[in-house]
Amino acid sequence: MRGVSGVDDLLVLLFAAVALIGAVSAHLQRDRFGKLIAVGIVFGGIAPFIAARGYLDVLIAVSLIVPVTTIIILLICRRDTHDA
């Protein structure tokens, strides 16, 4: 990964495995909360890639914006649970 830090092929493979497991799981889950948890796993997989390129300020901003998106979606999940 461009030699910015001590990232070699094994670490790339491990974090890519985390992101791909989350992406496939988000498609296959049928529960709403399972889908949201899988989206969180996808972001956990791609956060070390942002850090390994050296853009730490971007990582701070993205890490604070992405959970806000999940919490916005949770507003409609709660409303749907009450109706059901």
């Binding site: 001590g6 070390p48 959970p67």
Partner: protein, 80 residues
């Protein structure tokens, strides 16, 4: 040097374990384990002072997200 591989393998194990779990309430502790492992990876990856702040921001954000999901999943007060 071996620490970062150990933490990354722990993240992969926690992601697999959270995926194959059926119950939603039992998924969330494994997601928390994966988030702790990712936060540790961000610190171990770079020797930069801002890496600590980035890991703290990721930790706060992911913990808030998991707690919000748990609160919505368990919040069964029917006041409507």
């Amino acid at each position: 040097m071996i620490a970062i591989y150990l933490v990354a393998a722990l993240a992969v194990f926690a992601a697999i374990r959270a995926t194959v779990e059926k119950n939603t309430g039992r998924k969330l502790p494994y997601v928390n384990v994966m988030n702790f492992a990712i936060a540790g990876t961000i610190v171990l990856l770079l020797d930069h002072p801002l890496a600590l702040v980035a890991a703290a921001a990721y930790f706060v954000g992911s913990t808030l997200e998991a707690n919000a999901i748990a609160s919505t999943y368990a919040g069964g007060e029917r006041r409507g």
